[in-house]
Subunit: 354 residues, 2 copies
């Protein structure tokens, strides 16, 4: 589908190759940085647990955004690798804690960390990786100098504040058994919980390292919001209709976990009151009490009202907005190759199947 | 008791007054820094949860160590207040996560955060405070300049690595149902889990801000180890024989939680094999299955073998070592008032009743 666009974008294969190239670089940085052996057996075990999620197959989208935008501004992507690796560490500690908070079962095709080692250890492993993220950012002094390193730290601080707020909003909905949500509620949560760390900050730090002005870096707030929501919607869709082997999480796990998604909000806005009550009764049950038939019942209603298609359409519209905004705003940027790759990469955000 | 020492130390009242003075300053810094209102109700609730532990009555020992040592080196304690406040934020996010990991019930006289709001939210509140700690340290640039601010960040990174390792060691013992521990195992865990963040780093950052040399700051590693273990042992003792109103946790909660303490290790080294088996059978049970009689049974054996007295003796010896080491090493320091107050303060570490 991406081939039919009017943009002179490289093919999907180029994006895949680029993602792979970035992943190799960033992984090397991470595995060189994280400790992996210790003479004391307990501590050795902690180090292995810290390596567990980073070793699982991730897509490396955030580092790719960071490096591409750095290059688009004419910067040396090598100088941004350490920061891109910190984005991956962020993602990993967030996922460990998020998986506990949501009571998830699978992550990247394997049992979640707390399923393997219990909640207490998993909380601590997440904390350990969280600390390592700041350590990695501290290393930027040597790579970028004091001023720039401090600026990047600021960006991560801003991002952290956003992500814990977004997370709290979502957890509140679960705890308060709140279902009367509108699309605006979803956007707000989604921007804070997902868009900041998935799109806004990766682009901003890439831009800053690449030499962008404050005003240029700020443009990525709006671009990243659209892109981040588009990404999250596609994630919600894949959760419902994806292939477990590629997607790596249990299919329809969001229904089991009672997650509020755009698909669900559309369903509530479309179905009859008795149907809505039926859905709420199922969604609000504890995970363990839900049967396969319950989950299928909700899925069927989502199909009946075309809620999944609606979400996919929204995702595509948001992506288009982000791409147009980027193209318009950064017409003057020197590196066309990186710019075009960026546009192809963000297409992948909504066309991906995993 | 402290009055009988040969040191010309100020009285206990002076220590209490000093702790209060520091707490006022550091609390002002924290409550000025942490957000407390937000127009969005969910986020407002998160902010209130983040303020919960900081608002509970803590002793403020770590900030006091930091400011006193800064002054002892002739530094301006006002420049160290922000860093001292970061030590308090550290303590608070650690406690929130630690309380979940240990399945604790009370903290500073009130139900633990996860008892009030559930584990998912409490994990996230801990993360939110953790992020705020780094933000607070980032502010040091304006107070201390880039170089010193980065040095203090380094200290917190080193400390964080220690504390998650120590925590993992302790959690491993629980998860592996491991009871054949010796005193050395306990020291190792205790140094990493407690001594670094309670004593070593507070003294080190105070010294660094006060202008100490690297060699002088390094001396606080050994001093802080002794002091930190002494502190932890007293904590273990108070947990068994303290007054719940003053101590703020459930009495003998460590037995309910199956904690490995020096008292327990001494008991295992002293009692008969059947008694040891009796103790293990009780300690290894899930908390909910333990009766009051079980807990009392273990307590009685600890009394029978003078295990609590043994631990108290150890704590006093360690304190004496720390005080001697400090006096000997820092004979040349200018600020005698701060030095003497430091010696009185560390006496309080083992003489405190809360």
């Amino acid at each position: 589908m991406s081939k039919s666009g009017s943009e002179p974008a490289p093919t999907k294969e180029l994006v895949t190759a680029y993602l792979k190239e970035v992943k190799t670089k960033v992984d090397a940085c991470i595995f060189d940085f994280l400790p992996d052996t210790h003479e004391q057996q307990d501590v050795h075990q902690l180090y292995q647990m810290m390596l567990d999620y980073p070793r699982r197959e991730g897509k490396g989208l955030r580092p790719a955004l960071c490096l591409l935008i750095c290059e688009a501004f004419g910067g040396d992507a090598e100088r941004a690798v350490n920061t891109a690796a910190a984005l991956e560490l962020l993602q990993n500690w967030l996922l460990i804690h998020d998986d506990i908070e949501d009571g998830s079962e699978l992550r990247r095709g394997e049992p979640c960390l707390h399923q393997k080692h219990g909640i207490p250890m998993a909380i601590n492993v997440g904390d350990a990786l969280h600390c390592k993220m700041w350590e990695m950012l501290h290393r930027n002094t040597k790579i970028l100098g004091h001023n720039l390193a401090f600026q990047i730290l600021s960006e991560f601080i801003q991002l952290s504040n956003q992500v814990v707020e977004g997370q709290h909003i979502e957890l509140s909905w679960v705890r308060n058994n709140q279902w009367n949500l509108n699309e605006k509620d979803y956007w707000t949560m989604c921007i804070q919980k997902t868009a900041w760390y998935t799109c806004i900050t990766p682009c901003r730090v890439g831009a800053i390292i690449g030499g962008a002005s404050t005003e240029e870096a700020d443009a990525f707030i709006e671009i990243g919001k659209s892109l981040g929501i588009a990404f999250q919607i596609q994630d919600d869709v894949l959760n419902l209709i994806g292939d477990v082997g590629r997607y790596g999480k249990e299919i329809a796990g969001d229904i089991s976990e009672g997650k509020r998604t755009l698909v669900l909000i559309h369903l509530f806005n479309s179905c009859t009151p008795p149907e809505a009550q039926y859905v709420i009764d199922i969604m609000a049950q504890p995970r363990a009490d839900k049967t396969e038939a319950d989950v299928l019942g909700v899925l069927k209603l989502m199909e009946k009202y075309n809620s999944i298609q609606y979400a996919q359409k929204c995702s595509k519209t948001l992506l288009k907005e982000a791409a147009e905004h980027f193209t318009q705003k950064f017409d003057h940027l020197p590196n066309n190759q990186a710019k075009h790759l960026f546009l192809s990469l963000i297409n992948f955000f909504v066309e991906r199947e995993y």
